[in-house]
Point group: C2
Chain length 879, copies 2
């Protein structure tokens, strides 16, 4: 028979999956001999069973609960429901991972009309007894029975008004009795039956409520955002109540073994004498600092310090503890590894190693890679932020804090900067590739439409620029250059706003920002991560500036340099357009000749910035229509500029129209149609490499052909590349190595990777497109239905943010295996957005990739995630 | 050492892959002791080696060729290049499969300035000798040396003009000598060296030319159209010349053992006395029927008849033979299985079984399934066709012959039919789903744009309607309702045209058509196919009429009934649109209520037509914007009709806009967003099944959920289906079985088929979408670059027509294996366009599918292909 219920004395910290975090730690503390109120845990498996049984608690589980309850009664010498010596309990949820959004706590469970009387006598405090009863009815009705909390508040207010008092504490015992009477009356009216007087019924209903809360909408959303599977379930902890509000020798508090904001090694916390936990939270009385407990009760203080030290040593991590003092006796109610800021996490991890408490490997596991993000971007001055009121909220698409004057077109933004404006925010309905330059010069980007993976979001994250996307609360009028906030206030060109890319908040004013602090502990921890990891980390960078930034962040090369972004620059796009509208090979070659020196010089700069580290250059990828305007007015203007007729240019635009541009004439298909493009790009890469190598560098450029689905496509283009490159190298008289490889971003490429590896010297997984094709939806369009998928629990996460290991991942594993079967030393990497996502980095490590490549601002995150992957899944180091 | 050259006496018919068809048959005939001029074959492997060696013939191959030549000289007692007793040879290509487009023949090779003199003496016919030399120089220069043929013709014309004669035959020996002199002069001028006098050089250059011709553009195109891999290569046959033009006791001819048009068992052919092969082809003299040979030379005739019978018995198939009579002696130059019309193929196959020559299994292999197509559609009266001149040519997108009056909008076509017009042809730039009804009422469809897999082509093939697509030679003006043909002639609404869907020809007149003949042999052969095959054949049918047609053609059920086509009908689309613009669940349900009875009644009719055979109904699939107009004028009109404002309707249209509709909000994603649609469709299916079963049928409907990529999507919708269906069945009081399954058309579905099979009772491979997603291109857009892919030999076939077994096929195999691992008895089918393609049908048979489903007009093709697959790859029959 499965054991569904464990006494605290039967468990330990290693049983976290079964007992939840809270339960496992209560058991561990009990085992350590610490003063823990006794109780038991109903396991996470009972929760899973509850759902499997159609949301009922099986009889055998009920039996085990009652059995554990009986044992607890025996140990503590009190009896559940016995007015003369009542056992009261708290009921709390506790999942494997700490998870807000679920039911938290029901206190004082076990009170009924008789017990309340006994309690009054025992404590000699009828007010306390009835106040507890009142609170219990309200909490139970709200949380367990789902009666609106407000209705109880209204009764309380009624009574207070009738008595003409302001605070609850001014009510008399009789007033409280009246409140209890009306609460029970309300309960009966709402539910059609009396408030349950049987404590066993109270208990079982509370357990059910905890189980139900696992599927709260808020809990579901939290799980999705934090990669927690829905089949984990939550445990339920039932624990003897102890009271911190039994007089001045009682109290309650919380404390951390180290400062959770700074990481400083010093007990940090606060407490209130004669109070219960809620009072500390409610903020009516000001809590005292934990230091002051030393003066009030040195004996308790010393005992607590000793326990805290013991716990930190035991768990080898900073602890977050809850305690209660009941009539001069200390009880530990909870301990857990404390949440902390990124800065604190770094300091604590480094300090613990220096204190000899943990190894470097353990230290790198103690910092959440995603948290580093906050250290890599400017933030708002917290004081100013506290006072500021958001005027709207959008999606936190790219972190950071930005403040600047608003402009409504990329051109206006660029001109403003040219005219000396240093802080600009670009406000658009949505952005397109033509806006790139405007996005580049802006401190932040605000869009009215689009999701976390919209063009604005993806590009902004790539640039490390703050972005709030899909802000539907404001109405943007691009033509007339203004927007209206949710309160109806109008903002015009040049007005100041501020964006918080970490929360999605938009502020209608200029807020001061503080620069990111790159403290020493950060550097130390990253150096340990670098020692440990075997997975290399490269960056996706299209410009020398991005490359330089990424190099500073520790990038070991460029995994993806998109050549088309260069073509959008205002000095280049005319030649690009000339190439597109060319009617003959000669015209096209002439236009390409103009682009050649620009590309070559870009590559020279990028090679130089990367100081000889490998640079993977992807050849032209997007459909050509992206380089031409789409609306008639712009077409007319461009036609005039290019000296051609409107009709002719319009015909080109029409001809380039595609029903599904994502699946159209792009990627290597362009080079198959126009090999002269690949020829020009090869020339630019190879000549640039020769030029910098002449100056003493040792660049080995990697040419990457995108969107390959068949080895013959790759072969055709590779032949052009090799012919062109070898001729240039021969004529140069110097030696140059280079590699030709491909992206694996089409399912067919993954399936036929053994064939493709015959020609490809490296694979780079383009998991953005691979995810789109594997799922059969485009990320531009999926936003419309993915919300529905999350709310209906069909998807638990966004496959564009976190790699779909079960589907896309299987294709990747297949490609790795097939690729190595043909070419055992094939170089393997990833350059999709997933390259900067910690769980995806771990996956890439596990399937044996050589490197991940991500945007510059995610490089430190990937370095840490790669180290964690190596600690958790050790792989042999290549030499 | 590899043997690259075989004497005819060293080979046999089984060595076709190595020796090519022609070479293998020459060897076989030699082995049979038939009178075959001696010679040898250079193998297909030598051709492959030639390309591998950078288009050179390796020394070892040259050595083997000269060795074989020496042996041949010995056998025939003549010597290559010896003026006193010269051996002349023909050089001919011969691939595994008969393949027009390659170099055919060089005759008389071995002549030079000396040999010509010897030949003149030996034959006592200097005119013959110099005429042969002249022809040889011209043929060799043209075919081997790529000198323009016209330049030689000009010289000949020059000489004739100078001599003031009209025919070549009027030229004297001296004239011919002059022609030879000037030919050689031209050769020297063009090539910079003398015409090769060394017969061995002539031979080696001719062999190379044959190898080169394997990559002729025409040969490449032919291979693509006929699924011939490019790595097969061609063999070269070198054979002693015999001369049919050595006087009246000489002659040459071709004959079939049975009539290739009708299949009648009677020698069929023609010959010319005192002539060479070219003369028969040139058509200057009228050949005589083979029967007349009996009168001219009964001995030779009888010998030939005996050989013909021997060959037919030997090959157990109708033979196509070439022969030459040299001075009263018969020589066989070639035999091969003869090409034949579909009708002849059927008759011959059935007759051969009846004659006891072959088994039924062999008989089904003798008919090319694709050929049946011509028997299933009306054709033009051959006499009328002979006289007609096409006004343009497009792509033969859907076979058949159509004649009718032209209309330029679907609406006009519908109205014309309503007004009593019985023959209508719809002419459009391109068609869209809104044109369905107009396409339905038309005899044929002509489009100006789009490829073999454009909307018009796919839908027309599905309907069995004749279609010529992508006819760029005409200029269509839809607005003003006319088109201009390639000669500038204008055709307006109501003018007659005719379309040949098998050739792509368009005629500017009314041509008479003849109905398809379903002769008895057809039925007999199909019944044998049905006895043999294990793969079931279903049809894709959306209407009762299609279902009835398919049933007549032998469909054993419906594999794909697309429910959305029903919604485009004019009486339904208003309710559909009402559903789409609904702002609330209630409004949507109200609109769905209107659609319910229409759907139900459609399903009742379809079930009835299929007489209890399984019917798979696919739930709503296309993106909703397809049901709404896109241009502003139409939107305004519809808004008025629907009683809503233009702005509101325009907002709905904008909201439904997608960047990549193929990868957007469609398929099961619609039902996830609007489960009430699935509910209504379930209701319609289940109620219809109950209604017909009440009348004594036994329908087991199969509900198919499209575009599933994750088991949870399927589960979510299946829950809706099952809940709805079970309630209806319970209330009906009768028993009804039904199945719920899914399409496998998203790569992720194939990869996770084990999970999906937990919920799916059947899989149907939607290989249209699966091909798109696996290759990463949409078939609407791929037309733009696929031509380039063919011409650059990156693709050898259209993956939308023939299943890509190497990529898409691997995903299918994976899905079959994974699906069966979870659910061993899962039902497996295919409903993409590939279900009617013979090579794809064979693949489906091999990987173990239970059925293929194709358009009604392809059902007989699939039945035959399935039987052939079973003969070639026997599979156990399920009971």
């Amino acid at each position: 028979m499965t054991k569904y219920v464990y006494l605290f004395s039967e468990g330990n910290a290693s049983m976290r999956n079964l007992l939840g975090g809270k339960g496992a730690n209560l058991a561990e503390m009990t085992g350590l001999g610490l003063p823990v109120p006794r109780g038991f845990t109903v396991t996470t498996e009972a929760c899973t069973r509850y759902y499997a049984d159609g949301q009922t608690i099986a009889q055998e589980i009920q039996d085990q609960i009652y059995e554990a309850l009986a044992k607890t009664e025996q140990i503590v010498g009190k009896k559940f429901g016995d007015p003369s010596n009542p056992l009261l309990v708290s009921v709390r949820s506790g999942a494997r991972a700490s998870m807000p959004g679920m039911m938290d706590t029901i206190l004082n469970l076990g009170i009924n009309d008789e017990v309340v009387e006994g309690l009054a006598k025992l404590t000699n405090n009828p007010r306390f007894a009835y106040d507890s009863y009142r609170r219990f009815i309200q909490m139970f009705s709200d949380v367990v029975m789902e009666i609106e909390r407000l209705k109880f508040e209204n009764i309380l207010d009624d009574v207070k008004r009738a008595k003409n008092v302001e605070h609850d504490t001014e009510l008399t015992v009789d007033d409280l009795k009246e409140v209890v009477r009306r609460y029970k009356e309300l309960f009966r009216k709402e539910k059609g039956f009396d408030f349950p007087q049987d404590p066993r019924v109270q208990l079982m209903e509370a357990v059910k409520a905890v189980f139900r809360s696992w599927e709260n909408p808020r809990a579901v959303v939290y799980r999705r955002l934090n990669d927690i599977p829905s089949d984990w379930g939550t445990a339920v902890n039932v624990q003897e109540m102890v009271f911190g509000n039994m007089g001045n020798d009682s109290g309650t508090g919380v404390a951390f073994t180290r400062n959770p904001s700074t990481g400083e090694k010093k007990l940090y916390g606060e407490f209130l004498m004669n109070a219960q936990g809620e009072d500390v939270v409610a903020g009516i009385r000001t809590p005292q600092s934990i230091d002051q407990l030393r003066e009030i009760n040195p004996e308790i203080y010393n005992q607590f310090v000793e326990i805290a030290e013991k716990l930190e040593k035991h768990y080898r991590d900073m602890q977050d503890m809850e305690f209660t003092i009941e009539r001069g006796k200390l009880f530990m109610l909870q301990t857990r590894n404390g949440k902390r800021t990124a800065a604190a996490a770094l300091k604590i991890a480094v300090d613990l190693v220096r204190e000899g408490m943990i190894t470097k490997e353990e230290a790198v596991l103690k910092v959440d890679p995603k948290q580093l993000d906050t250290l890599l971007h400017p933030t708002f001055d917290p004081a100013a932020l506290k006072k500021a009121v958001p005027i709207a909220k959008g999606l936190p698409a790219s972190p950071g804090a930005a403040t600047g004057k608003i402009y409504f077109t990329a051109e206006d933004a660029v001109n403003a900067v040219k005219n000396g404006e240093s802080k600009v925010i670009l406000v658009r309905l949505e952005t397109s590739p033509e806006d790139i330059e405007g996005m580049h010069v802006s401190q932040g980007i605000l869009t009215g439409r689009g999701g976390m993976t919209s063009h604005a979001a993806v590009v902004a994250r790539g640039m490390g620029t703050c972005c709030v996307a899909g802000c539907g609360e404001i109405r943007i009028n691009e033509e007339e250059k203004y927007f209206i906030d949710k309160n109806g206030k109008k903002y015009v060109e040049g007005d100041w706003i501020s964006l918080d890319g970490s929360t999605g908040n938009v502020y209608g004013e200029q807020l001061p920002t503080v620069a990111p602090e790159m403290v020493g502990d950060f550097a130390t921890l990253m150096s340990w991560a670098d020692e440990i990891r075997v997975l290399k980390v490269r960056t996706n960078a299209d410009t020398p500036a991005d490359a330089a930034q990424a190099y500073k962040f520790g990038a070991e090369g460029i995994g993806l340099c998109r050549t088309e972004h260069m073509f959008f620059e205002p000095d280049r796009i005319p030649a690009m357009r000339e190439m597109i509208v060319a009617r003959s090979l000669e015209q096209r070659k002439k236009a390409l000749e103009k682009l050649l020196p620009m590309q070559r010089s870009d590559f020279e700069k990028i090679f130089t910035e990367m100081k000889g580290h490998p640079v993977t250059i992807r050849f032209l990828d997007p459909p050509l229509h992206e380089f031409l305007p789409q609306d008639d007015e712009d077409i007319a203007a461009l036609a005039k500029e290019m000296g051609m007729s409107y009709e002719d240019l319009k015909a080109v635009v029409n001809d380039l129209h595609e029903f599904n541009p994502m699946m159209g004439h792009r990627g290597c298909r362009l080079a198959v149609s126009y090999p002269e493009i690949a020829e020009m790009q090869t020339r630019a890469v190879i000549e640039a490499a020769i030029n910098v190598n002449r100056k003493g560098m040792n660049v080995v450029p990697e040419i990457m052909i995108p969107l390959v689905g068949d080895v013959k496509e790759l072969k055709y283009i590779k032949d052009v590349v090799v012919r062109t490159a070898d001729e240039i190298i021969r004529n140069s008289g110097i030696k140059l190595e280079y590699k030709v490889g491909t992206m694996i971003e089409i399912p067919r490429a993954a399936i036929t990777a053994d064939e493709i590896a015959r020609e490809a010297e490296f694979f780079s997984f383009g998991t953005n497109d691979l995810t789109q094709m594997t799922f059969g939806f485009s990320r531009d369009d999926a936003g419309k239905f993915l919300e529905e998928y999350y709310s209906k629990k069909i998807y638990e996460f966004d496959p564009f943010e976190k790699l779909d290991q079960n589907g896309v991942g299987k294709l990747m594993e297949m490609a790795v295996k097939l690729g190595k079967s043909t070419r055992p030393d094939i170089k393997l990497g990833i350059c999709g957005e997933h390259g900067g996502d910690p769980s995806s980095v771990e996956f890439c490590h596990r399937i044996g990739l050589d490197y991940v490549s991500c945007s510059p601002y995610r490089v430190p995150i990937a370095r840490l995630a790669a180290a964690q992957a190596q600690v958790n899944y050790p792989r042999e180091k290549k030499q």
